[in-house]
């Protein structure tokens, strides 16, 4: 193993340690003296500010400071975990957590069940991603002003009966100490603004929501065209009032960037998570190196894509992050992994371990997941030879059954495509399919690929993610 100190040029000044390094080091030594093969203590402190307006008036503003610390012990090939918001007590849990791990291990029937970790460079450093405008310096008036900019445009129609806007900014600092000698501290920030409008006409009532944000401070929100966000949400909601119910059946589908992102997150990203592969719950088990998509499909997951909502500089096992090329020209080339699954599948650790906060243990998670661009110039080129299909925009979220390989995602609004033209608006469009089929059915991508609106991903724990890509055409999708 390589031991390095402050290897990156990206090192900023320390923002102060909350863990007592000497005491924690002694505790980790105790764990190994009790027979643990590995032990770690990870502390996350979060300074957050959330706020919301309802109909343009301040509804709530919540400043918060939360701390969580998690001890993980690997003994006899099994994990024991203890999490608490009481930092001072964590060292007292070494013996009981080691015992817990051993009690789990005693139940494993074969040595193949034993968990081991892939080797990684042991690093001692600090890495702080500095924002241009630190969220901790942003005052409430500024937050209100930004949200008001959305609200003012969103409500400019008598059919808009309610508006709400929201704000969330976070400064997150993580400290990780391990029995292997890892001692890393890292921090970064995220900012998010969102809004929702409700439109009513007679008994018809619809809603539309929008979101913008990413890794960074106030500058992330300042770059957004907030007025346009409000205006587009209003216009979309008004359109939905008169939209017809979408047709059902199998038909060509063109997805905007938001939906392309959700599609690739649900249909491919989750089945690529190596902890699900290990659990026997992924349709991509045993398919590394195989062709699973059309030639034009190349997909990456990249936590270092600065500005994306799923960015992080170091993963929650202390592994440096990098771009992961999940599919290259239709061939499955890489799983997202953490140290446990990297060892299990004899892969290089690729920095995919993420925990929701200091009170949760790391799982294999996505970060910023995008499909690379294709060859089509624009939407017109994608739809010109579609006789009857759907152009779907904006995400209402999605879900996947990774084992079966089936997925679903829903659009906020959509249009019919008839004889190569976009015609009438339709509503309640959802799309479902099977991962191993629909990746082969991608038959058109525009050239320009970029991240779409930020999102959140739930897998027992919730983490922020970015996803996106170009506009995408699928030859045949199950709609409705």
């Amino acid at each position: 193993m390589v031991v390095s100190t402050n290897p990156a040029g990206n090192v900023m000044e320390s923002t102060g340690r909350l863990l007592d390094v000497d005491r924690i080091t002694r505790s980790l030594d105790l764990a190994t003296s009790l027979g643990a093969t590995y032990a770690e203590i990870r502390l996350v402190s979060e300074t957050t500010n959330s706020a919301s307006l309802k109909d343009g008036k301040l509804e709530r503003a919540i400043p918060g400071q939360e701390i969580g610390v998690t001890l993980r012990v690997l003994a006899d090939g099994a994990w024991g975990v203890h999490s608490t918001s009481d930092i001072s007590s964590i060292s007292d849990q070494i013996e009981s957590t080691t015992r817990l791990a051993r009690a789990v291990a005693a139940r494993h029937s074969s040595s193949s069940d034993a968990i081991a970790l892939a080797e990684v460079p042991i690093i001692q450093d600090e890495m702080h991603w500095r924002s241009v405008k630190d969220v901790r310096d942003t005052d409430l008036d500024t937050r209100i002003e930004m949200m008001t900019a959305i609200d003012a445009e969103a409500k400019d129609d008598e059919r808009i009966v309610a508006t709400s806007t929201g704000w969330l900014d976070e400064h997150i600092q993580t400290e990780l100490l391990t029995s292997e000698g890892m001692d890393r501290v890292w921090s970064f920030q995220r900012s998010l603004i969102n809004g929702m409008v409700t439109a009513r006409e007679g008994s018809d009532v619809v809603s539309y929501r929008m979101r913008n944000g990413g890794e960074g401070g106030l500058e992330v929100i300042e770059k957004a065209d907030l007025g346009a966000m409000g205006r587009e949400a209003r216009l979309s909601a008004i359109r939905l009032l008169s939209a017809e119910r979408a047709p059902s059946g199998k038909m060509p589908l063109v997805a905007d960037r938001d939906l392309t992102g959700v599609y690739i997150h649900e249909a491919l990203g989750h089945p690529c998570e190596a902890d699900l592969v290990q659990a026997g719950d992924s349709c991509l088990e045993g398919k590394l190196g195989q062709k699973i998509g059309s030639d034009m499909v190349t997909v990456v997951d990249d936590p270092t894509m600065r500005g994306g909502y799923g960015c992080y500089p170091i993963d929650d096992e202390g592994v440096d992050t990098r771009e992961k090329r999940l599919i290259v020209n239709g061939v499955l080339t890489e799983y997202l992994n953490h140290r446990e699954t990297a060892h299990k599948f004899s892969l290089d650790p690729n920095g995919g371990a993420r925990a929701q906060d200091g009170l949760h243990h790391p799982l294999v998670r996505m970060s910023n997941t995008v499909i690379k661009g294709g060859t089509h110039n624009d939407l017109d080129e994608l739809i010109e030879d579609i006789e009857h299909g759907i152009y779907a925009c904006g995400s209402r979220g999605g879900q996947v059954d990774t084992g079966r390989g089936s997925f679903q995602f829903a659009a906020q609004e959509a249009w019919l495509i008839e004889n190569g033209s976009i015609t009438r608006p339709v509503k309640d469009v959802s799309v479902s399919g099977m991962t191993l089929q629909i990746l082969k059915d991608v038959d058109g991508l525009t050239k320009d690929s970029r991240l779409a609106a930020p999102g959140f991903c739930g897998k027992g724990q919730t983490v922020p993610v970015g996803d996106g890509g170009p506009l995408m055409r699928i030859r045949e999708a199950l709609v409705g």
């Binding site: 994990w79 309610a162 619809v206 659990a279 996947v400 089936s406 829903a410 309640d428």
Partner: protein, 468 residues
């Protein structure tokens, strides 16, 4: 007790008092401190084994201050940080709009609700939980040698909660929980079927293995595939597992008074009118014995109630928190409104908002067994679980989801399973059409919108099934 210190509530109340005293010292006369501290053990299943065991606890304090009808909120982990939290909360209050008539709730006597704590749970240690895990895995193998528990887990927990306000509300208690979730898959002959089932209770689960039995059953019955057929509008029998997530997305949101008067509810302007089929009733019970969303007081200390929201299909009532009621009256959207004891909290990090408790859907008409419902349906589908329930639109009631646990019914008999299908419709309209409820009411999980107690539901109109 193993799980939680004997004096957990007393400790929380002492800390609440110290924060309250700091508020008084800072010249704030109207304050509320909410606290919780949770402890628990859990284990995870993966690839047919127990993969991890964990334990721990967390908690904190939420401070709400009110000044001239304006409120501010801040949360903290350590009471020693009270000065900062007070300063932030009062700063926000002074920047917030004043709501005439908004004050923190007055102290009123409340009656306790039973079944919140099962002391047997407090004595469950990690080794006991691992033994339960062993039983689950043994049961899987016993029922079907092909089946594997690929995910899920078991957990026990106890949470101490307390509230203390400047108006004299002082209350606290311990709430226990026991839960299981098990994700079973059968992968054989190039066909994988799976099912996730779970159960939770404030009491020690009487039969935690029943979730295994159910998951195995659905993993087995969905293996016998029949061709998908054409898209059709047809009756659908939703099991409580499939129905509850969609119901929880749409109905609890619709009964919030604030959303009704702001026009955001699909039932806005319909008070007194028929909104559900004439034989259906909907009760929001915040006083259900052992109810996972029940208790003697709501999230801001107001005594809880049991409210009939819909009776014989007619919308009779709506739910309010103190601030929502004052705000909508002050803004002239409604002549009068008051707290219905319906304030909910997501924990100490968020101020109280309005929400449902234990919500019960019932029928005064005939109810039927599952087999009876299938026979009554004649032609249609049984849908057990859906993907994408969270994408349902709570404002309109529209949903469009996907299911992989769907059975085809012909001539009143199940003839086989589809591999996958789209399923769409409008939940509110379907519940206002031809509906027959099953005769077994089941609690189907707790959601952010409350805990749903619903039976199997046969919905006859306005639903579309779109086989893959």
């Amino acid at each position: 007790m193993i799980l939680i210190p004997d004096d957990a509530v007393e400790r929380l109340l002492e800390s609440c008092a110290s924060i309250g005293a700091a508020c008084e010292a800072a010249g704030i006369s109207s304050w509320e401190v909410f606290a919780n501290q949770g402890y628990g053990h859990s284990l995870d299943f993966e690839a047919g084994r127990i993969s991890m065991a964990s334990g721990g606890g967390d908690g904190g304090f939420g401070l709400r201050v009110v000044e001239d009808g304006r409120y501010g909120y801040a949360h903290l982990v350590d009471p020693r940080g009270a000065a900062r939290a007070i300063s932030e909360a009062i700063g926000i209050a002074r920047r917030s709009p004043s709501i005439p008539g908004f004050e923190l709730p007055a102290s009123e006597e409340s009656k306790s609700v039973g079944g919140m704590l099962d002391k047997r749970i407090l004595d469950i240690g990690p080794e006991d939980l691992l033994n339960q895990g062993d039983q689950v895995l043994a049961r899987v193998t016993e029922l079907d040698s092909r089946a594997v528990a690929v995910g899920g887990g078991i957990g026990v927990g106890a949470t101490a909660g307390a509230i203390l306000t400047s108006n004299g509300i002082e209350d606290g208690g311990i709430f226990s929980s026991h839960g299981i979730g098990v994700h079973i898959s059968i992968d054989e002959d190039d066909q994988l079927t799976s099912s996730y089932e779970g159960d939770s209770s404030r009491k020690l689960l009487e039969d935690p293995l029943s979730s295994v039995d159910k998951a195995i059953h659905w993993s087995q019955v969905t293996r016998d595939k029949v061709p998908g057929g054409e898209t059709e509008d047809c009756p659908v029998l939703m099991t409580s597992d499939g129905f509850a997530p969609l119901f929880s997305m749409v109905v609890p949101t619709a009964v919030k008074g604030e959303r009704m008067v702001r026009g955001e509810s699909l039932w806005a302007g319909m008070l007194g009118q028929q909104v559900l089929a004439p034989h259906l009733s909907l009760v929001d019970d915040r006083r259900m014995e052992g109810g996972t969303s029940s208790g003697s007081r709501d999230g801001e200390g107001v005594p809880t109630t049991t409210r009939t929201l819909v009776d014989s299909g007619r919308l009779l009532d709506q739910i309010w928190s103190t601030r929502d009621a004052a705000q909508q009256v002050a803004e002239g959207r409604i002549d009068s409104a008051a707290s219905t004891g319906s304030a909910s909290r997501g924990g100490h990090t968020s101020p109280p908002g309005c929400g449902c408790g234990d919500m019960i859907l019932s029928s005064s008409d005939r109810v039927m067994s599952r087999d009876g419902l299938i026979e009554e349906m004649g032609e249609g589908y049984v849908i057990h679980s859906v993907m994408g329930a969270h994408t349902a639109n709570p404002t309109s009631g529209d949903f469009s989801v996907t299911t992989s646990t769907i059975l085809r019914v012909e001539g009143g008999q199940v003839v086989g399973a589809l591999s996958q299908a789209g399923f769409s419709g409008n939940m509110a309209k379907a519940l206002n059409g031809r509906v027959i409820l099953g005769n077994q009411r089941a609690k189907q999980g707790s959601y952010s919108s409350g805990s749903m107690h619903v039976p199997d539901v046969l919905l006859m109109d306005g639903l579309r099934v779109n086989p893959a």
